[in-house]
Every structure is written in C-alpha cells, then in structure tokens.
Symmetry: C2
Subunit: 584 residues, 2 copies
C-alpha cells in the first residue's frame, strides 16, 4: 500500500518531464501552434533563492511593477542572471486579456486565461521574487517604491513597505476611462480585469433571474433585460456579440417566458463602430448587428448613468434622452492610474496626459526608470527638432552642403532614429531618401544633387506628420516587454559595443536600437462564429474563416501549454454543451 | 458568407441530438458509467409553459423549496404531468456537494460540479417553473410560502412575494452548526456551499501571498501559514488531506521561501477522527496523517475563535490552551435553518431539535407538506407504541392469542411498517419472527406456540432499540427525493389500489410503502491518491484501489453528462498540470 500507484507515478513523470507533457498536449490540441514561452529547464537549481540572497549581493536590483502583458513579457524574456528581480503586483497571475470578453459569457472560463506569475518565472535561471502588493508611490530621487499589501493583512497594521531599486520597470497598465461622467463608477461594469468579467457574467444571469420574478410588470422586466454597452471599440463590439450569442444560443431555451423582452444596445459617440478598422469591416459589423437586432446608436454620447437609467446626448443635434437599463458595460478606452499621475507630478511631466518615455522606453527625465504598456507613451523625437544636428553630422566634409553620397552614409542612422522618415517615404511611394531629395530639388541627375541646410529642412519638413502614437494593445505591450528584456540581457555588452544609431546631438552611438513596433494585425470578433481580421498591408478578411484564424492565433499566443490546453478545451466544451448559466 | 460554417452546423447537430453528444462523451471519458439522469427528449414541446398556464389551471400546485440533493432528485424523477411545479431556491443550480472539498484546492473547478436547475428540468414533460428566491416563511394554515428575492432587485422595493401550494416539498438543507461558540461565524470558513469552497481556495492562496510579504517576522509567517480544521468527520478529514496535497504537490515549488513554515492541524472533540467509520479506517487515517505531519488533536473542543487565535479545551483534563492561526475551516456537523425553526414553532414541534416527518416523509402534524434531506428527520414509529393494535389486527380469530399461522400472515406488514424488527432479527442472527417468538416462549415445536398479549409484548420489547436516525448525507437525500417523486407519480393510482402495509391503528392499507434507505457505502478520501471505502456488509477497503473506485463512483453519479465530462477533464488537468494557484 505504500508503493506508488500507477497514477501517482505517471503524474510525477508527466510533471517532472516537460517534453513528455508537451507532446501529450500537442496531440490533444492537434498542433495548436508554438507559444510565446520558450521552454527552459522545468526545475530551477535547488535553493537558488538562498544563493541569490547571499552570494549575489552585488547584483543590480530590478523592480518590476505589474504582471500584465508588458511586465510578464519582460520577465519571460529576461535571461541575464546578473540581476536580482523583485516583481510587485496586486495580482499574482498573468491574464490573457484579449479573451476577457469571452469570459463574460462563459465561452472561456476565467481560470483558463490566467497563469500564476510564480509559475511563469520559476523556470528561469534569473532570481525573480514576487510580492503580491500594490505600488502606491514611486520615489525617483531615493530610488524607492512604496507598496501596500492589497488584502486585509491581519498583521498588526504593517501593511506598507518600501523596496529599493537600481532599475525600475513600470508596467502597471491603465484604468477604465469614465471621462468623469456622473454615475459611471457607481453603476456601470468595466471590462479590464478578470474579476470584472466574472462580475459581468454573474450580473447577466442575475438579470435573467430577476426578470423571472413573479411580481414584476412587463415594463420592469423589459428594463431589467436591457443590456447597454457603451463604446464601439473592439472590446465593446466583441462583448455585444458574445452577449447576443449567449442569449440566443443558451439562455433563450432556459428562460422561455422572458425571451421576447431582451434587448442589447451599443452606444458609440463617433459616427461608426470599430472606427479604427477598415471601412469594410465597420460596414459589415453594423449591418450584421442591425440584422440581429442589436441596436447600434452612433453619434450619441453618455452624459449620466443613474441606477436605472442612462442618459445620452446626440452629438449633432444636442438632444438629450434617457433609457431604462438593467446592466451597463463601460468600455470607452483607458485613463491614467493615480500612481502614474502622482509620479508624473514628481518628475514634472504635469502638462502631459500620459507618462512619456523616449524611444528606448526610458521615462523622460529619469535615468533607470522604464515604462511600458498602457501606462506610458513613446514620445517620438521629431526630425525637425534635430535637423541642424543631423545636417552637421551628415556633412562629413563640413562643406555646408550634403551630397548624395554623404546622405546615403547617414541615412541608416536617420531612419533608425526617426522611423517616421521611412513611413513617410513608403506612404509617398518613394524608394529611398534620394527620391525625396530629388523631389525637393526638382533635379533629375542624382549625383549632382547638393543640399544646403535650408533645402534639407524643406525636404524633410513634412516627415514628422507621419508620427503616430502606438495603440494601447496587448501586442504593443508584449513587444515592449520583450524588447526591454533584450536590452537588459545585453546591457554590459552594449555598453562596450553600442549597436544603436549615431547620437546626432552628442558623441558616439546609442547603446541600443530604439524600440520598433511590428504590427501583426488585429481581430474584431463579431459573434455567430464570424470574425473580422485586418492584417498588415490592408488585408481584410471577414467571416467564418477568420474565426478559425482567430482560434488558432489566440490558442498559439497563450502564455503556457497549460492555459493553451484549458482554453482549447473550453472552446470544445462550449461547442458540445453550450455555455453554463449557473449563478456562481 | 451567410451559409453556416462547418462549426456552426456541427455544433447544432451535437446539441440538437443528445444521442450523438452522449456517444461522443462516452468516448471522451472512456465509459465513465451511467448517470442518475434518464435522458428524455432534449427539447420540450414548444410553448409548453404557455399551455401549462392556461389549459391546466386545475392542476395541483406543487411548491418545491431548495435545489439540493433532495429537491433536485425529486424534480428529476417527477414524471406525472398533472402537477404544476414551482421551484424556489436562492441558487439557480444544483451542486454536487461531495466534491466541495476538491473545489477548495482546485482539484476540481467550482463550475464543473454545478448544473443549472433549469437545464435539469427543461427536458421533462412536467411543467416546472423556477424562481431564484429564498423562502422566508411557511404558512401551513393558508397554504402559502413567503419568499424574498435574494439579490438587490433594484425594483422599487418589491422584494417579497407569496406562492400558494397544494403540496409543499421542503428540501432546504441545513446550515453549519457553530454550537454558538463565540467568534466562529466571524472568523471561520464553512464548507457547505460552492461559494464557501471558492472563498477557502482564495483564502489559502492569500495566506501564502501574505506570508511572503517582506515586512513580517518568521513567527508571524508561521501563524499565517497555520491552517486549522475543526471537525474530524469525512468532510474535515478530506479537506485536510486535499490541503496537504495541494501544499506539498503544488505550492511548495512556487513558495520555496516559506515552505518550512506551513502547518495543518485537525481538531476533533471525540477520541478519534472518522468515528462513524470502521476502526481500521480510523486507525489508518490517523497513522497516515501523523506520518505526513498533519497534527491531529483529538479530545479537544474549540471554545473560542478570535481573529488570530483559536482556543481549545481538552475534554478530559479540562485544560484550555490557544494557538495562533491563519485560516480556520469549520466542519462540525449541521444545524437547523431559521426558516425551519420558525416553521416548527408554527406546527408545535418546538420540543424537537429537527423537523420530524413520518415514514412517508410527511411533516408530522401537516397534511400535504413533505420534508426531506438534511432539514428533516424521519420519526420512526415505535413497535411498543402500537403493540396492542398490532396484536389485535394479527389475532384474526379474536381468540386473545396469536398462533404462528396468524403471526406469519401479519409479519410482512409488521416488518414493512416497523423496519427495526427486521434489523433486530438480523443483528440477533434470527431467521424469522418465529425464531423470536420461540426464543421468547422457550418452546421447541413451532406449531404449538400461542402468545397472549403480554408474551407478545415481552417478545418484541427490545426491538425498538434498533431504531437509528439516518445520516445527513447526499445519498439519503437523493433516495428520499426519488422516493417522494415516485409517490407523486402514482398518487391517484395508489389512492385506488393502496400498496402500503396494513394500517394497524385504522382501516385499510397505507397508500404507499414507507421510505426505506438503502446504504451503498461511504468514502473517506485521505489524500495522496488513497481513499478509505466502507461498503455494506462491513467491507472495508483502503488505498489506491479505493481511490479508483471513488473516481468511478463520483464520475458516474454526476447529474448530467456535461458535469461528468467537466469533472473527469478536471481530474485529467490536475494530473497533467497540477492545481492552479492564481488568486482569483
């Protein structure tokens, strides 16, 4: 009886040997695609933490705030063992947020899209420690962060503590933006955290149960079953579509008495939903929603949310009206967290809406503090600000004019430092900067071109118009995290052999190449097993085939094989049994 | 693009055709065994509820309180369409409670053990309506129940409503029993509802995260990681075992800094844990727990629970002591719900601890009210109370003595009405009542026996000592529910042709046979893939093989194919990936 059972032995074998487990899962999900996570050893050397604490006391202390896309991607890609990393986040898990709308209706379970951060970092050779707490203040002068344990500690009030850092990586994300509209915080649901999605799920079922109470009038039932979504961006649209499917495929059968009373309304302040997408997608989505009875009200801004009514104002006519509702979901973009606003005050970034970093993700005005993901924006340097310095560096013979040869020698550094140049050329169908200069000069023969500083300025004068902020998406945050980890991995090496572009306003080269975002496309699931996909090169696909693309991309992007298997099995469960409607 | 995709079509095919889906699942879980649920048509006739409301206005109104084991089993087995059934419960789902201890540590997901009650009843031809509300008062005089919607209705305060009944079926279950020990309600976790299990799960992770905070002393960490379980019954023991496995198999790796500080203590007031089981099981469990470092403290009763300390008193010595803790789980048996206590007052059952029913599950003193499951006990009729009436009925020739022939004619009815007689014979190795009478008379020849009333009394005098209350288990509740549904199914028929035993104190026969509990055995999972099983006939099995028996029984007893597939896949997930430790 003391010997191991088959089960126990087999289970241990599976869990001690990641390759075997990987194989099993590949079979189970029929090749769900490669993941973000590069497998390292399953078990870190025994007692690494103890060693890390004593032996490596001279390690640089890196503090990472947040375990969202940016922070997790940074941690996963950090390989340099010369850092002592302290992760601080109120959530001890990473959540695959693009699937949050699916969680609201039980298409995917909340637990399937989360992975404990300790599990993600424990496979690494770098000493990474996690503390479940919320950072409440950053002190850039003394290089300290002040944190607070988020639960009731029951520990004699010792809730606060501080942590010293040598490098600080801020990836705390954003909060939902209410635009200070009264009643939103009190009455609306947001859709930013896993808990939000769980609350929405319970709330939908609660509405159906409430509407079934015997004492209500039909009018009251109609109010309770009126679901309002504010914000016609990808999240709002996906939630509206999910909710419509949930109601029609699963709840209608179970609540036959009230099925005629359900209504879904989508409010959008601009003229169209999904307005960051191609027009074909917008038109398709609006048409589909109309056909399905989802009431899309564009051009109407919310002005107030009371406990039973939501008031809107038509943007054009200025007319206000209000409608009774049972549940409101608020999804209108992101706002800055109080921690970041406080921090911006301290570093005199008060005139900005969001925290600004340079192209290397360093917070402007702070050495050794990096910010990435939704909590920050890259403040892209303008060409025109540096135009004299660029001219000076490029003019190697100091003749006061630039030849094509000189220009060609400098162009790589210029394009790398100012990516808007490349974008401008591409958008104007020019092959190289020579085209641009020729265009400016009106000259036909390439070799004869020579520009003085004024001509050079005028040639590049429109280039900065191409500058765009990056969208607040998981894709951007993940790429920034992995970029920054790569910089940290090669910090000493790059100090010796800088690999970035020439410093136009200084000496030598930048240590690293600046961050460059690579856009892989975007999805907008529209319900009924249809998805719109907009891929680079204006390639647009709408329909069932894109849904399959969506399934495979989202499965492959999961943070671990575990969550991948869970998400895929959730999809299969839904396929066979439908969505659950228990009120838990 | 408007045609159905393969997925959509296949999904519909699956869900419209239960046989296909059944087959699929059978393959998926390799024959997980037949379920409780007999499949009827997947779709009820369209608009049945409307018809039910208008056409069958003369139907008897049955109100069922509760959707636990008793209520759900009743609903599932009710097949007679001549009732209009109204189900009222604060929970819109049925929960497979024996798996609650598994939910506390994430071995099984909460959602996998629940099935919406609407889904369970929608396959039936009987008109069953569900309302999510809590019954707050029963009025047996006016045949009404008063209910309250459990959530914040947001509906102008119309929270209460009443429902009329012709038959009332009470299956509201019990609450945790705190024995009025101070601080228990405020500081301890219970383990009766799905939400309790979810809270415990979060709380365990919270304790580990709290213990990892940088500001704490080791003493404080040790306190936070001290898990105390009060009550050494099957639930408490199973939770202790689950927690031990969770900590050792999953959390130790993720929280290496605090792994030496974890302690689990199991408190039991009597001398042994699992004292309703065979001694071999008790001994094995105590030995196993000791070996694993679970501190089992028997003979110690809790007297007070403060926010950080639990105080106990040794039963024998009377010594009191207290120990710091991080989390307490309270599992010491069941108490009566306020609704039932109030109801008992109204029907003058004030001198009793629990609601009493007769052997047909009718509440004593109330026609048309039935109570089953944990909220009631069957008040088994004593033979000695009816001994004169029995003698009179059996003495057909009114000779004043009973012959063996007369006795044999009456015995079937006696045994059916008073099951303790059979139990007494069995326990005393007697084959039939004749043995008992011969034994009483000291006679050797069967035919010559004749007993007068005094001799008859003395022969049966010890029989009532065999009477036992049924345990408060899911098994009992489920059997009672199905028994009662069967009575309701054949109500008119049994009115015409009564099938029960003779009424000794009245005329004719009882309509139905009294409820008889059939014990199929009991499990006590002990962790480490070992389970103790005690099956009828004192058959005891402990170890890994019983664990497999446990897996198959619990899989087969699931309420639907859906939950069966979910539970089995949860077990497989755990097997491959371990348990999750995210704090959600």
């Amino acid at each position: 009886m003391r010997s191991f059972s088959f089960f126990e032995r087999a289970s241990r074998a599976f869990r001690d040997n990641p390759t075997a487990s990987k194989l099993l899962v590949v079979v189970a999900i029929s090749g769900g695609g490669g993941g973000l996570l590069a497998y390292s050893d399953s078990k870190p050397p025994e007692g690494l933490n103890a060693i890390a604490a004593s032996e490596y006391k001279n390690k640089k202390r890196v503090v990472v705030l947040g375990t969202g896309w940016a922070g997790t991607s940074f941690l996963k890609n950090l390989k340099n063992p010369s850092y002592d990393v302290q992760v601080i986040s109120p959530r001890n898990y990473f959540a695959f947020t693009p699937l949050l709308p699916s969680v609201t209706c039980g298409t995917v379970e909340a637990r399937s899209i989360v992975e404990p951060i300790r599990r993600i970092v424990k496979k690494k050779n770098v000493g990474i420690h996690f503390t479940e707490a919320e950072c409440i203040s950053i002190d850039p002068v003394n290089k300290k962060v002040y944190c607070q344990f988020s639960q009731d500690t029951n520990s004699d009030g010792k809730k606060e503590f501080s942590v010293d850092y040598d490098y600080l990586v801020i990836g705390v994300g954003a909060r939902a933006n209410t635009f200070n509209i009264p009643g939103v915080v009190e009455n609306a649901h947001f859709l930013k955290e896993v808990e939000d999605a769980q609350r929405i799920r319970r709330s939908v079922i609660d509405c159906f149960e409430r509407a079934n109470l015997p004492t209500l009038s039909d009018e009251e039932r109609r109010r309770i079953l009126h679901f309002v979504i504010v914000g016609g961006g990808p999240t709002g649209v996906e939630f509206a579509a999910e909710l419509h499917d949930y109601v029609n495929e699963d709840l209608m059968n179970l609540y036959p008495d009230v099925k005629k009373l359900v209504k879904i309304t989508l409010l959008e302040a601009t003229d169209h939903i999904l307005n960051m997408f191609d027009k074909r997608i917008t038109a398709f989505a609006e048409e589909k929603f109309k056909r399905e009875g989802i009431d899309v009200k564009t051009g109407s801004a919310v002005v107030k949310v009371s406990d039973k009514e939501i008031s809107t104002k038509a943007i054009k006519s200025g007319e206000t009206s209000s409608m009774p509702y049972g549940m409101v979901v608020w999804s209108t973009g992101i706002g800055t967290r109080p921690l970041i606003m406080d921090f911006m005050q301290k570093i005199s970034q008060t005139n900005r809406r969001v925290l600004a970093t340079d192209e290397w993700l360093r917070v402007e005005g702070c050495d050794n503090i990096y910010a990435l993901g939704d909590c920050a924006t890259i403040n892209q340097r303008k060409v025109m600000e540096d135009i004299a310095a660029i001219f000076k560096k490029a003019d190697k013979d100091e003749s006061g004019t630039l030849t094509v040869k000189e220009m060609q020698d400098a162009i790589d550094d210029v394009v790398e430092r100012y990516p808007q140049v490349e974008l401008y050329l591409k958008n104007n169908q020019m092959e190289s900067i020579v085209d641009l200069l020729m265009h400016a000069k009106g000259d036909k023969t390439m070799e004869s071109i020579e520009l003085n500083i004024e001509e050079f300025k005028s040639a590049l004068s429109k280039v900065d118009s191409q500058m765009k902020n990056l969208p607040a998406t998981a894709q951007v945050a993940a790429q920034q995290g992995s970029y920054l980890a790569d910089c940290f991995n090669r910090m000493e090496e790059a100090e010796r052999n800088p690999e970035g572009p020439i410093r136009f306003r200084g000496e030598g080269r930048h240590r690293f190449r600046p961050f460059r975002y690579k856009h892989f496309g975007q999805f907008a699931p529209l319900g009924g097993e249809q998805t719109a996909a907009q891929l680079p090169g204006d390639w647009v696909s709408i329909g069932h085939s894109s849904q399959w693309l969506w399934y495979s991309v989202y499965a492959s992007k999961q943070v671990s094989w575990r969550t991948r298997a869970l998400v895929v099995s959730d999809w299969m469960r839904r396929f066979v049994y439908g969505r659950d409607s228990s009120g838990i």
